[in-house]
Amino acid sequence: MRHRLILNNITHTFEDGGIQRTVLNNLNLQVSEGELVAVMGPSGSGKSTFLSIAGALLDPKGGEVLLDGESVSDKNKQELSDIRLHKIGFIFQSANLIPYLKVEEQLTLVAKLGNMNKRKAAERIRELLDMLGLNHRRSAYPDKLSGGERQRVAIARALMNDPAVLLADEPTASLDASRGMDVVRMLAEEARELGKSAVMVTHDERVLPLCDRVLYLENGGLIERK
Protein backbone atom coordinates (compact mmCIF):
# COMPACT_ATOMS: atom_id res chain seq x y z
CA MET A 1 0.00 0.00 0.00
CA ARG A 2 1.22 3.49 -0.91
CA HIS A 3 1.97 5.99 1.83
CA ARG A 4 1.15 9.43 0.54
CA LEU A 5 2.25 11.21 3.73
CA ILE A 6 5.42 10.19 5.56
CA LEU A 7 7.06 12.00 8.48
CA ASN A 8 10.55 10.72 9.25
CA ASN A 9 12.24 11.48 12.59
CA ILE A 10 10.71 14.92 12.89
CA THR A 11 12.27 17.01 15.66
CA HIS A 12 11.27 20.56 16.44
CA THR A 13 12.33 22.90 19.23
CA PHE A 14 11.19 26.32 20.36
CA GLU A 15 13.13 28.98 22.18
CA ASP A 16 10.90 29.78 25.12
CA GLY A 17 12.18 32.38 27.55
CA GLY A 18 15.78 31.35 27.01
CA ILE A 19 15.00 27.65 27.45
CA GLN A 20 15.05 25.25 24.52
CA ARG A 21 11.78 23.36 24.56
CA THR A 22 11.54 20.24 22.45
CA VAL A 23 8.03 20.02 21.08
CA LEU A 24 8.44 17.14 18.68
CA ASN A 25 11.05 14.51 19.32
CA ASN A 26 11.83 11.97 16.59
CA LEU A 27 8.24 11.77 15.52
CA ASN A 28 7.43 9.19 12.86
CA LEU A 29 4.19 8.78 10.97
CA GLN A 30 3.12 7.03 7.82
CA VAL A 31 -0.39 7.47 6.50
CA SER A 32 -1.47 5.21 3.70
CA GLU A 33 -3.81 5.89 0.81
CA GLY A 34 -7.46 6.05 1.86
CA GLU A 35 -6.69 6.18 5.56
CA LEU A 36 -7.98 8.71 8.08
CA VAL A 37 -5.77 9.11 11.14
CA ALA A 38 -6.93 11.01 14.21
CA VAL A 39 -4.30 12.73 16.33
CA MET A 40 -5.28 13.56 19.91
CA GLY A 41 -3.41 15.20 22.71
CA PRO A 42 -3.77 17.80 25.45
CA SER A 43 -3.29 21.51 24.75
CA GLY A 44 0.35 22.40 24.38
CA SER A 45 1.35 18.90 23.35
CA GLY A 46 2.43 20.20 19.93
CA LYS A 47 -0.58 19.32 17.80
CA SER A 48 -0.49 22.63 15.94
CA THR A 49 3.25 22.37 15.39
CA PHE A 50 2.82 18.84 14.12
CA LEU A 51 0.11 19.92 11.70
CA SER A 52 2.10 22.94 10.53
CA ILE A 53 5.12 20.77 9.75
CA ALA A 54 3.04 18.12 8.00
CA GLY A 55 1.38 20.93 6.01
CA ALA A 56 4.66 22.47 4.79
CA LEU A 57 3.94 25.65 6.73
CA LEU A 58 6.82 25.21 9.12
CA ASP A 59 10.28 23.86 8.49
CA PRO A 60 11.23 21.29 11.17
CA LYS A 61 14.62 21.52 12.90
CA GLY A 62 15.28 17.88 12.06
CA GLY A 63 13.83 15.09 9.97
CA GLU A 64 11.91 15.24 6.73
CA VAL A 65 8.37 15.28 5.38
CA LEU A 66 7.58 13.31 2.23
CA LEU A 67 4.47 14.06 0.21
CA ASP A 68 3.85 11.41 -2.42
CA GLY A 69 7.46 10.40 -1.89
CA GLU A 70 8.77 13.92 -2.53
CA SER A 71 10.66 15.73 0.21
CA VAL A 72 9.57 19.25 1.14
CA SER A 73 12.85 20.28 2.74
CA ASP A 74 15.08 22.90 1.10
CA LYS A 75 12.31 24.60 -0.84
CA ASN A 76 11.89 28.35 -1.15
CA LYS A 77 8.70 30.18 -0.17
CA GLN A 78 7.12 30.08 -3.61
CA GLU A 79 7.84 26.39 -4.07
CA LEU A 80 6.28 25.73 -0.68
CA SER A 81 3.22 27.75 -1.71
CA ASP A 82 2.88 25.61 -4.80
CA ILE A 83 3.31 22.39 -2.81
CA ARG A 84 0.57 23.47 -0.42
CA LEU A 85 -1.63 24.40 -3.35
CA HIS A 86 -1.26 21.13 -5.22
CA LYS A 87 -0.37 18.47 -2.67
CA ILE A 88 -2.17 19.49 0.50
CA GLY A 89 -5.79 20.17 1.29
CA PHE A 90 -6.33 22.12 4.51
CA ILE A 91 -9.50 22.10 6.57
CA PHE A 92 -9.31 24.62 9.39
CA GLN A 93 -11.20 25.18 12.61
CA SER A 94 -14.51 26.94 11.93
CA ALA A 95 -13.97 26.52 8.19
CA ASN A 96 -12.22 29.86 7.58
CA LEU A 97 -13.83 30.49 4.25
CA ILE A 98 -13.22 33.78 2.44
CA PRO A 99 -16.24 35.88 3.49
CA TYR A 100 -16.70 37.71 0.19
CA LEU A 101 -16.70 34.66 -2.08
CA LYS A 102 -19.80 32.61 -2.88
CA VAL A 103 -19.57 28.85 -2.35
CA GLU A 104 -18.62 28.05 -5.93
CA GLU A 105 -16.20 30.98 -6.02
CA GLN A 106 -14.33 29.57 -3.04
CA LEU A 107 -13.53 26.61 -5.25
CA THR A 108 -12.96 28.67 -8.40
CA LEU A 109 -10.29 30.62 -6.54
CA VAL A 110 -8.34 27.43 -5.81
CA ALA A 111 -8.71 26.37 -9.44
CA LYS A 112 -7.45 29.78 -10.60
CA LEU A 113 -4.48 29.70 -8.26
CA GLY A 114 -3.61 26.28 -9.69
CA ASN A 115 -4.10 27.47 -13.28
CA MET A 116 -6.75 24.84 -13.87
CA ASN A 117 -8.48 24.98 -17.22
CA LYS A 118 -11.86 26.72 -16.92
CA ARG A 119 -14.07 23.97 -18.27
CA LYS A 120 -12.35 21.34 -16.20
CA ALA A 121 -12.68 23.54 -13.12
CA ALA A 122 -16.40 24.12 -13.65
CA GLU A 123 -16.97 20.41 -14.04
CA ARG A 124 -14.95 19.57 -10.94
CA ILE A 125 -16.80 22.18 -8.88
CA ARG A 126 -20.12 20.66 -9.92
CA GLU A 127 -18.89 17.19 -9.03
CA LEU A 128 -17.58 18.20 -5.62
CA LEU A 129 -20.66 20.20 -4.70
CA ASP A 130 -22.86 17.30 -5.75
CA MET A 131 -20.80 14.86 -3.78
CA LEU A 132 -20.94 16.96 -0.61
CA GLY A 133 -24.61 17.83 -1.05
CA LEU A 134 -24.03 21.55 -1.50
CA ASN A 135 -25.46 22.08 -4.95
CA HIS A 136 -28.43 24.13 -3.78
CA ARG A 137 -26.08 26.46 -1.86
CA ARG A 138 -23.65 27.17 -4.66
CA SER A 139 -24.30 30.93 -4.86
CA ALA A 140 -24.60 31.58 -1.15
CA TYR A 141 -22.09 33.63 0.83
CA PRO A 142 -20.44 31.88 3.82
CA ASP A 143 -22.34 33.97 6.37
CA LYS A 144 -25.60 32.51 5.05
CA LEU A 145 -24.44 28.92 5.56
CA SER A 146 -24.83 26.76 8.65
CA GLY A 147 -21.73 25.57 10.48
CA GLY A 148 -21.95 22.10 8.96
CA GLU A 149 -22.39 23.48 5.47
CA ARG A 150 -19.38 25.73 5.93
CA GLN A 151 -17.22 22.81 6.96
CA ARG A 152 -18.43 20.84 3.95
CA VAL A 153 -17.45 23.75 1.68
CA ALA A 154 -14.06 23.69 3.39
CA ILE A 155 -13.74 19.98 2.57
CA ALA A 156 -14.70 20.68 -1.05
CA ARG A 157 -12.14 23.48 -1.19
CA ALA A 158 -9.48 21.17 0.23
CA LEU A 159 -10.28 18.54 -2.41
CA MET A 160 -10.43 20.95 -5.32
CA ASN A 161 -6.86 20.54 -6.54
CA ASP A 162 -6.89 16.77 -5.98
CA PRO A 163 -4.21 16.83 -3.25
CA ALA A 164 -2.25 13.86 -1.90
CA VAL A 165 -2.92 14.70 1.70
CA LEU A 166 -5.85 16.12 3.65
CA LEU A 167 -5.01 17.90 6.91
CA ALA A 168 -7.84 18.87 9.24
CA ASP A 169 -7.34 21.12 12.25
CA GLU A 170 -10.14 20.37 14.73
CA PRO A 171 -12.84 20.44 12.04
CA THR A 172 -15.63 19.70 14.52
CA ALA A 173 -14.69 22.33 17.09
CA SER A 174 -17.53 24.69 16.20
CA LEU A 175 -20.17 22.06 15.41
CA ASP A 176 -22.74 20.17 17.49
CA ALA A 177 -22.37 16.41 17.91
CA SER A 178 -24.42 15.15 14.97
CA ARG A 179 -23.07 17.79 12.55
CA GLY A 180 -19.57 16.95 13.71
CA MET A 181 -20.18 13.27 13.05
CA ASP A 182 -21.51 14.07 9.57
CA VAL A 183 -18.46 16.14 8.68
CA VAL A 184 -15.94 13.54 9.87
CA ARG A 185 -17.88 10.76 8.18
CA MET A 186 -17.69 12.74 4.97
CA LEU A 187 -13.98 13.34 5.45
CA ALA A 188 -13.38 9.61 6.01
CA GLU A 189 -15.46 8.70 2.96
CA GLU A 190 -13.70 11.15 0.63
CA ALA A 191 -10.29 10.02 1.85
CA ARG A 192 -11.20 6.39 1.24
CA GLU A 193 -12.91 6.89 -2.12
CA LEU A 194 -10.39 9.30 -3.57
CA GLY A 195 -7.35 7.59 -2.11
CA LYS A 196 -6.06 10.45 0.03
CA SER A 197 -4.01 10.23 3.17
CA ALA A 198 -5.94 12.17 5.78
CA VAL A 199 -4.82 13.39 9.19
CA MET A 200 -7.20 15.04 11.63
CA VAL A 201 -6.15 16.77 14.82
CA THR A 202 -9.07 16.65 17.22
CA HIS A 203 -10.30 16.89 20.79
CA ASP A 204 -13.61 15.34 19.98
CA GLU A 205 -13.74 11.72 21.22
CA ARG A 206 -17.18 11.13 19.69
CA VAL A 207 -15.79 11.06 16.18
CA LEU A 208 -12.97 8.59 16.91
CA PRO A 209 -14.95 5.47 15.85
CA LEU A 210 -15.05 6.92 12.32
CA CYS A 211 -11.26 7.03 12.06
CA ASP A 212 -9.05 4.18 10.91
CA ARG A 213 -6.39 4.84 13.52
CA VAL A 214 -6.19 7.00 16.64
CA LEU A 215 -2.81 8.33 17.76
CA TYR A 216 -1.86 10.27 20.88
CA LEU A 217 0.77 12.97 20.86
CA GLU A 218 2.87 12.48 23.99
CA ASN A 219 6.40 13.59 24.85
CA GLY A 220 6.98 14.69 21.31
CA GLY A 221 6.06 11.39 19.71
CA LEU A 222 2.93 9.63 18.44
CA ILE A 223 1.69 6.59 20.37
CA GLU A 224 -1.09 4.25 19.31
CA ARG A 225 -3.54 3.24 22.06
CA LYS A 226 -5.94 0.44 21.75
Partner: protein
Amino acid sequence: MYLAIREMRFAKVRYSLIAIIMLLVAFLVLFVTGLARGLAYDNAASIQNMDATHFIMEKDSNHRFTRSQISEQVLLQASSIVGEDNVQPLGVKMTTMTAEGKIGKLDVTLLGINPEGWLMPKLTEGAAITATGTGQVLVDRKLKDSGIGLGTVLIDQASGLKWTVSGFVNHESFSHSPAVFLNEHDWQQLQLTTITTPSATKWTDSTYNAVAVKANTHHKEQLTAVLADAEIVTKADAVSAIPGYKEEQGSLWMMIIFLFIISSFVLAVFFYVITIQKSSQFGILKAIGTRTGYLVRSVALQVLLLSAGSLVVSMLLIQATESILPSGMPFLLQSSTMALTSIAFVTMSLVGSLLSVWKVTKIDALDAIGRTAA
Protein backbone atom coordinates in the same frame (compact mmCIF):
# COMPACT_ATOMS: atom_id res chain seq x y z
CA MET B 1 -7.60 40.06 -9.72
CA TYR B 2 -10.32 37.55 -8.96
CA LEU B 3 -10.15 38.33 -5.25
CA ALA B 4 -9.79 42.10 -5.58
CA ILE B 5 -12.89 42.59 -7.68
CA ARG B 6 -15.09 40.17 -5.75
CA GLU B 7 -14.15 41.75 -2.48
CA MET B 8 -15.10 45.19 -3.75
CA ARG B 9 -18.38 43.78 -5.03
CA PHE B 10 -19.09 42.26 -1.64
CA ALA B 11 -18.11 45.24 0.53
CA LYS B 12 -19.80 47.86 -1.63
CA VAL B 13 -20.51 50.36 1.13
CA ARG B 14 -16.99 50.30 2.50
CA TYR B 15 -15.37 50.77 -0.89
CA SER B 16 -17.93 53.34 -2.07
CA LEU B 17 -17.19 55.51 0.93
CA ILE B 18 -13.48 55.54 0.24
CA ALA B 19 -14.18 56.06 -3.47
CA ILE B 20 -16.26 59.14 -2.66
CA ILE B 21 -13.47 60.58 -0.54
CA MET B 22 -11.00 59.92 -3.35
CA LEU B 23 -13.40 61.44 -5.83
CA LEU B 24 -13.69 64.64 -3.80
CA VAL B 25 -9.94 64.89 -3.35
CA ALA B 26 -9.33 64.23 -7.05
CA PHE B 27 -11.92 66.84 -7.96
CA LEU B 28 -10.28 69.37 -5.69
CA VAL B 29 -6.84 68.55 -7.08
CA LEU B 30 -8.03 69.11 -10.64
CA PHE B 31 -10.02 72.21 -9.73
CA VAL B 32 -7.20 73.91 -7.86
CA THR B 33 -4.75 72.94 -10.60
CA GLY B 34 -7.07 74.48 -13.17
CA LEU B 35 -7.41 77.58 -11.06
CA ALA B 36 -3.65 77.84 -10.57
CA ARG B 37 -3.03 77.47 -14.29
CA GLY B 38 -5.86 79.87 -15.06
CA LEU B 39 -4.60 82.50 -12.65
CA ALA B 40 -1.06 82.05 -13.93
CA TYR B 41 -2.26 82.63 -17.45
CA ASP B 42 -4.57 85.47 -16.51
CA ASN B 43 -1.79 87.15 -14.58
CA ALA B 44 0.90 86.99 -17.20
CA ALA B 45 -0.98 86.22 -20.39
CA SER B 46 0.66 88.96 -22.44
CA ILE B 47 4.17 87.87 -21.55
CA GLN B 48 3.35 84.18 -21.96
CA ASN B 49 1.75 84.84 -25.33
CA MET B 50 4.98 86.41 -26.54
CA ASP B 51 7.04 84.30 -28.85
CA ALA B 52 10.29 85.27 -27.08
CA THR B 53 12.69 82.89 -25.35
CA HIS B 54 14.50 85.57 -23.34
CA PHE B 55 14.17 89.19 -22.33
CA ILE B 56 17.04 91.60 -22.03
CA MET B 57 16.60 93.74 -18.93
CA GLU B 58 18.63 96.22 -17.00
CA LYS B 59 20.99 94.76 -14.46
CA ASP B 60 19.68 94.96 -10.87
CA SER B 61 16.10 95.18 -12.04
CA ASN B 62 15.33 91.87 -10.29
CA HIS B 63 13.89 90.52 -13.54
CA ARG B 64 11.06 93.04 -13.32
CA PHE B 65 9.86 94.70 -16.51
CA THR B 66 8.60 97.77 -14.72
CA ARG B 67 11.91 98.41 -12.97
CA SER B 68 14.11 97.91 -15.99
CA GLN B 69 15.20 100.64 -18.41
CA ILE B 70 16.92 99.78 -21.66
CA SER B 71 18.41 102.12 -24.28
CA GLU B 72 18.09 102.06 -28.04
CA GLN B 73 21.76 101.13 -28.12
CA VAL B 74 21.12 97.79 -26.39
CA LEU B 75 18.47 97.01 -28.96
CA LEU B 76 20.97 97.63 -31.77
CA GLN B 77 23.68 95.58 -30.13
CA ALA B 78 21.30 92.70 -29.54
CA SER B 79 20.02 92.70 -33.10
CA SER B 80 23.61 92.58 -34.39
CA ILE B 81 24.09 89.33 -32.48
CA VAL B 82 20.85 87.42 -32.89
CA GLY B 83 19.65 89.13 -36.06
CA GLU B 84 17.17 91.93 -36.56
CA ASP B 85 14.26 89.53 -37.00
CA ASN B 86 14.73 87.99 -33.61
CA VAL B 87 14.67 91.18 -31.56
CA GLN B 88 11.72 93.33 -30.54
CA PRO B 89 11.60 96.34 -28.21
CA LEU B 90 9.06 96.23 -25.40
CA GLY B 91 7.68 98.94 -23.15
CA VAL B 92 5.75 98.03 -20.04
CA LYS B 93 4.02 100.53 -17.80
CA MET B 94 1.29 100.01 -15.26
CA THR B 95 -1.00 102.96 -15.03
CA THR B 96 -4.48 104.20 -14.27
CA MET B 97 -6.82 105.57 -16.93
CA THR B 98 -10.21 107.07 -17.29
CA ALA B 99 -12.51 106.65 -20.25
CA GLU B 100 -13.96 109.83 -21.68
CA GLY B 101 -17.61 110.22 -20.79
CA LYS B 102 -17.43 107.47 -18.16
CA ILE B 103 -17.12 107.63 -14.40
CA GLY B 104 -14.56 105.46 -12.66
CA LYS B 105 -10.95 104.63 -13.23
CA LEU B 106 -9.31 101.61 -14.79
CA ASP B 107 -6.04 99.95 -13.87
CA VAL B 108 -4.30 98.85 -17.06
CA THR B 109 -0.85 97.97 -18.29
CA LEU B 110 0.45 99.85 -21.28
CA LEU B 111 2.54 97.72 -23.62
CA GLY B 112 4.59 99.55 -26.21
CA ILE B 113 5.37 97.35 -29.19
CA ASN B 114 6.18 97.47 -32.85
CA PRO B 115 2.88 96.67 -34.62
CA GLU B 116 4.78 95.11 -37.52
CA GLY B 117 6.87 92.90 -35.24
CA TRP B 118 6.18 89.53 -33.68
CA LEU B 119 4.99 90.93 -30.36
CA MET B 120 1.82 92.17 -32.03
CA PRO B 121 -1.17 90.27 -30.63
CA LYS B 122 -3.90 88.81 -32.77
CA LEU B 123 -6.79 91.16 -33.41
CA THR B 124 -10.25 89.85 -32.63
CA GLU B 125 -12.36 92.92 -33.35
CA GLY B 126 -11.95 96.36 -34.93
CA ALA B 127 -8.89 97.66 -36.78
CA ALA B 128 -5.23 96.97 -36.03
CA ILE B 129 -2.82 99.70 -35.04
CA THR B 130 -0.07 100.60 -37.46
CA ALA B 131 3.53 101.68 -36.98
CA THR B 132 2.86 105.10 -38.43
CA GLY B 133 -0.53 106.02 -37.04
CA THR B 134 -0.89 107.96 -33.81
CA GLY B 135 -3.29 107.91 -30.90
CA GLN B 136 -4.71 104.49 -31.67
CA VAL B 137 -4.60 101.56 -29.21
CA LEU B 138 -5.67 97.93 -28.99
CA VAL B 139 -7.19 96.84 -25.69
CA ASP B 140 -8.04 93.57 -24.00
CA ARG B 141 -11.58 92.29 -24.31
CA LYS B 142 -12.05 92.38 -20.55
CA LEU B 143 -12.30 96.18 -20.76
CA LYS B 144 -15.58 95.71 -22.59
CA ASP B 145 -17.12 94.85 -19.22
CA SER B 146 -16.14 98.34 -18.04
CA GLY B 147 -18.06 99.89 -20.90
CA ILE B 148 -15.14 100.42 -23.27
CA GLY B 149 -16.05 100.04 -26.95
CA LEU B 150 -14.53 100.77 -30.31
CA GLY B 151 -13.79 104.49 -30.58
CA THR B 152 -13.82 105.12 -26.83
CA VAL B 153 -11.19 107.69 -25.85
CA LEU B 154 -8.91 106.69 -22.98
CA ILE B 155 -7.06 109.31 -20.90
CA ASP B 156 -3.89 108.40 -19.05
CA GLN B 157 -4.06 109.82 -15.56
CA ALA B 158 -0.34 110.46 -15.15
CA SER B 159 0.51 111.99 -18.53
CA GLY B 160 -2.85 113.25 -19.67
CA LEU B 161 -2.33 111.67 -23.08
CA LYS B 162 -5.41 110.53 -24.98
CA TRP B 163 -5.80 107.42 -27.13
CA THR B 164 -8.70 106.03 -29.10
CA VAL B 165 -9.60 102.35 -28.95
CA SER B 166 -9.31 101.00 -32.46
CA GLY B 167 -9.59 97.28 -31.78
CA PHE B 168 -9.83 94.46 -29.27
CA VAL B 169 -7.53 91.54 -28.50
CA ASN B 170 -8.22 88.41 -26.47
CA HIS B 171 -6.45 87.14 -23.31
CA GLU B 172 -3.94 89.94 -22.95
CA SER B 173 -3.04 90.95 -19.41
CA PHE B 174 -0.14 91.77 -17.14
CA SER B 175 -0.28 91.33 -13.36
CA HIS B 176 -4.03 90.73 -13.71
CA SER B 177 -4.62 94.12 -15.28
CA PRO B 178 -5.88 94.29 -18.87
CA ALA B 179 -3.31 95.20 -21.49
CA VAL B 180 -3.39 98.24 -23.75
CA PHE B 181 -1.11 98.08 -26.82
CA LEU B 182 0.50 101.23 -28.25
CA ASN B 183 2.80 101.60 -31.20
CA GLU B 184 6.38 102.83 -30.78
CA HIS B 185 5.55 106.41 -31.64
CA ASP B 186 2.88 106.76 -28.97
CA TRP B 187 5.14 104.98 -26.52
CA GLN B 188 7.94 107.51 -27.14
CA GLN B 189 5.52 110.32 -26.53
CA LEU B 190 4.50 108.82 -23.25
CA GLN B 191 8.15 108.49 -22.26
CA LEU B 192 8.73 112.17 -23.02
CA THR B 193 5.97 113.25 -20.66
CA THR B 194 7.40 111.24 -17.84
CA ILE B 195 11.09 112.04 -18.17
CA THR B 196 13.37 109.76 -16.28
CA THR B 197 16.08 111.45 -14.33
CA PRO B 198 19.25 110.55 -16.22
CA SER B 199 21.23 109.67 -13.11
CA ALA B 200 18.65 107.11 -12.02
CA THR B 201 19.53 104.73 -14.80
CA LYS B 202 22.61 103.57 -16.64
CA TRP B 203 21.54 104.87 -20.04
CA THR B 204 20.77 108.45 -20.83
CA ASP B 205 18.40 107.73 -23.68
CA SER B 206 16.44 104.94 -22.10
CA THR B 207 13.26 104.38 -24.09
CA TYR B 208 12.16 100.80 -23.48
CA ASN B 209 11.79 98.53 -20.48
CA ALA B 210 13.06 95.38 -22.09
CA VAL B 211 14.02 93.74 -25.35
CA ALA B 212 12.33 90.52 -26.32
CA VAL B 213 14.64 88.11 -28.14
CA LYS B 214 14.48 84.70 -29.72
CA ALA B 215 17.85 83.26 -28.81
CA ASN B 216 19.55 79.92 -28.44
CA THR B 217 22.14 79.13 -25.76
CA HIS B 218 24.98 80.22 -28.00
CA HIS B 219 23.35 83.60 -28.61
CA LYS B 220 22.60 83.96 -24.97
CA GLU B 221 26.27 83.59 -24.03
CA GLN B 222 27.25 86.14 -26.63
CA LEU B 223 24.64 88.59 -25.39
CA THR B 224 25.80 88.18 -21.81
CA ALA B 225 29.36 88.86 -22.87
CA VAL B 226 28.59 91.98 -24.92
CA LEU B 227 25.91 93.62 -22.79
CA ALA B 228 27.69 94.16 -19.51
CA ASP B 229 25.05 96.42 -18.01
CA ALA B 230 22.15 94.20 -18.98
CA GLU B 231 20.86 90.87 -17.91
CA ILE B 232 19.44 88.09 -20.08
CA VAL B 233 16.35 86.75 -18.35
CA THR B 234 14.48 83.62 -19.43
CA LYS B 235 10.79 83.95 -20.15
CA ALA B 236 9.88 81.77 -17.15
CA ASP B 237 11.94 83.94 -14.80
CA ALA B 238 10.46 87.09 -16.25
CA VAL B 239 6.95 85.72 -15.76
CA SER B 240 7.49 84.68 -12.16
CA ALA B 241 8.92 88.12 -11.36
CA ILE B 242 5.67 89.81 -12.34
CA PRO B 243 4.23 91.39 -9.14
CA GLY B 244 2.03 88.90 -7.29
CA TYR B 245 2.72 85.98 -9.60
CA LYS B 246 5.00 83.96 -7.37
CA GLU B 247 2.94 84.55 -4.24
CA GLU B 248 -0.29 83.55 -5.94
CA GLN B 249 1.14 80.43 -7.54
CA GLY B 250 3.05 79.49 -4.40
CA SER B 251 -0.02 79.25 -2.21
CA LEU B 252 -2.01 77.38 -4.85
CA TRP B 253 0.81 74.91 -5.39
CA MET B 254 1.06 74.33 -1.69
CA MET B 255 -2.63 73.38 -1.72
CA ILE B 256 -2.15 71.01 -4.63
CA ILE B 257 0.85 69.30 -3.06
CA PHE B 258 -1.00 68.91 0.21
CA LEU B 259 -3.96 67.39 -1.59
CA PHE B 260 -1.66 64.84 -3.17
CA ILE B 261 -0.18 63.97 0.20
CA ILE B 262 -3.64 63.79 1.78
CA SER B 263 -4.97 61.46 -0.91
CA SER B 264 -1.95 59.24 -0.45
CA PHE B 265 -2.45 59.12 3.31
CA VAL B 266 -6.19 58.57 3.15
CA LEU B 267 -5.60 55.51 0.99
CA ALA B 268 -2.69 54.37 3.12
CA VAL B 269 -4.75 54.47 6.31
CA PHE B 270 -7.81 52.88 4.74
CA PHE B 271 -5.93 49.97 3.22
CA TYR B 272 -3.71 49.52 6.24
CA VAL B 273 -6.70 49.18 8.55
CA ILE B 274 -8.47 46.83 6.12
CA THR B 275 -5.34 44.75 5.72
CA ILE B 276 -4.89 44.39 9.47
CA GLN B 277 -8.54 43.41 9.76
CA LYS B 278 -8.05 40.77 7.12
CA SER B 279 -4.70 39.45 8.27
CA SER B 280 -6.08 36.07 9.35
CA GLN B 281 -7.83 35.83 6.00
CA PHE B 282 -4.55 36.50 4.24
CA GLY B 283 -3.01 33.82 6.48
CA ILE B 284 -5.61 31.28 5.32
CA LEU B 285 -5.05 32.21 1.69
CA LYS B 286 -1.32 31.78 2.09
CA ALA B 287 -1.82 28.45 3.87
CA ILE B 288 -3.91 27.03 1.04
CA GLY B 289 -1.15 27.93 -1.37
CA THR B 290 -1.71 31.54 -2.52
CA ARG B 291 1.55 33.23 -3.36
CA THR B 292 2.32 36.50 -1.61
CA GLY B 293 2.78 38.18 -5.00
CA TYR B 294 -0.81 37.38 -5.89
CA LEU B 295 -2.10 39.00 -2.71
CA VAL B 296 0.12 42.06 -3.20
CA ARG B 297 -1.14 42.48 -6.75
CA SER B 298 -4.66 42.14 -5.44
CA VAL B 299 -4.19 45.03 -2.98
CA ALA B 300 -2.44 47.17 -5.60
CA LEU B 301 -5.22 46.54 -8.09
CA GLN B 302 -7.84 47.68 -5.61
CA VAL B 303 -5.92 50.90 -4.99
CA LEU B 304 -5.52 51.40 -8.71
CA LEU B 305 -9.19 50.81 -9.41
CA LEU B 306 -10.25 53.20 -6.66
CA SER B 307 -7.93 56.02 -7.65
CA ALA B 308 -8.38 55.65 -11.40
CA GLY B 309 -12.13 55.28 -11.07
CA SER B 310 -12.55 58.34 -8.89
CA LEU B 311 -10.22 60.25 -11.18
CA VAL B 312 -12.29 59.50 -14.25
CA VAL B 313 -15.50 60.56 -12.54
CA SER B 314 -13.88 63.73 -11.21
CA MET B 315 -12.63 64.59 -14.69
CA LEU B 316 -16.18 64.42 -15.98
CA LEU B 317 -17.33 66.55 -13.06
CA ILE B 318 -14.58 69.08 -13.77
CA GLN B 319 -15.66 69.34 -17.36
CA ALA B 320 -19.24 69.89 -16.27
CA THR B 321 -18.14 72.48 -13.74
CA GLU B 322 -15.97 74.27 -16.27
CA SER B 323 -18.91 74.78 -18.57
CA ILE B 324 -20.96 76.52 -15.86
CA LEU B 325 -18.13 78.64 -14.43
CA PRO B 326 -18.62 82.39 -14.96
CA SER B 327 -16.48 83.72 -17.82
CA GLY B 328 -14.60 86.06 -15.49
CA MET B 329 -13.28 83.10 -13.52
CA PRO B 330 -9.77 82.29 -14.64
CA PHE B 331 -9.80 78.54 -15.12
CA LEU B 332 -7.49 76.73 -17.51
CA LEU B 333 -7.01 72.98 -17.59
CA GLN B 334 -5.27 71.76 -20.71
CA SER B 335 -5.31 68.06 -21.43
CA SER B 336 -1.55 67.88 -20.91
CA THR B 337 -1.87 69.38 -17.42
CA MET B 338 -4.78 67.06 -16.72
CA ALA B 339 -2.78 64.02 -17.84
CA LEU B 340 0.21 64.97 -15.69
CA THR B 341 -2.00 65.61 -12.67
CA SER B 342 -3.72 62.26 -13.15
CA ILE B 343 -0.46 60.37 -13.38
CA ALA B 344 0.77 62.10 -10.23
CA PHE B 345 -2.49 61.30 -8.43
CA VAL B 346 -2.41 57.61 -9.30
CA THR B 347 1.28 57.39 -8.42
CA MET B 348 0.67 58.98 -5.04
CA SER B 349 -2.18 56.53 -4.43
CA LEU B 350 0.09 53.60 -5.16
CA VAL B 351 2.68 55.05 -2.81
CA GLY B 352 -0.07 55.08 -0.20
CA SER B 353 -0.66 51.36 -0.68
CA LEU B 354 2.97 50.44 0.03
CA LEU B 355 2.37 50.20 3.78
CA SER B 356 -0.37 47.62 3.27
CA VAL B 357 1.70 45.71 0.76
CA TRP B 358 4.50 45.52 3.29
CA LYS B 359 2.01 44.30 5.89
CA VAL B 360 0.69 41.61 3.55
CA THR B 361 4.17 40.25 2.92
CA LYS B 362 4.73 40.04 6.67
CA ILE B 363 1.64 37.94 7.37
CA ASP B 364 2.55 34.35 8.20
CA ALA B 365 0.58 31.44 6.81
CA LEU B 366 1.23 29.72 10.14
CA ASP B 367 -1.38 32.03 11.72
CA ALA B 368 -4.07 29.97 10.01
CA ILE B 369 -3.44 26.92 12.18
CA GLY B 370 -5.04 26.83 15.60
CA ARG B 371 -7.26 29.84 15.04
CA THR B 372 -10.90 29.72 15.96
CA ALA B 373 -12.35 32.54 13.90
CA ALA B 374 -11.65 34.00 10.49
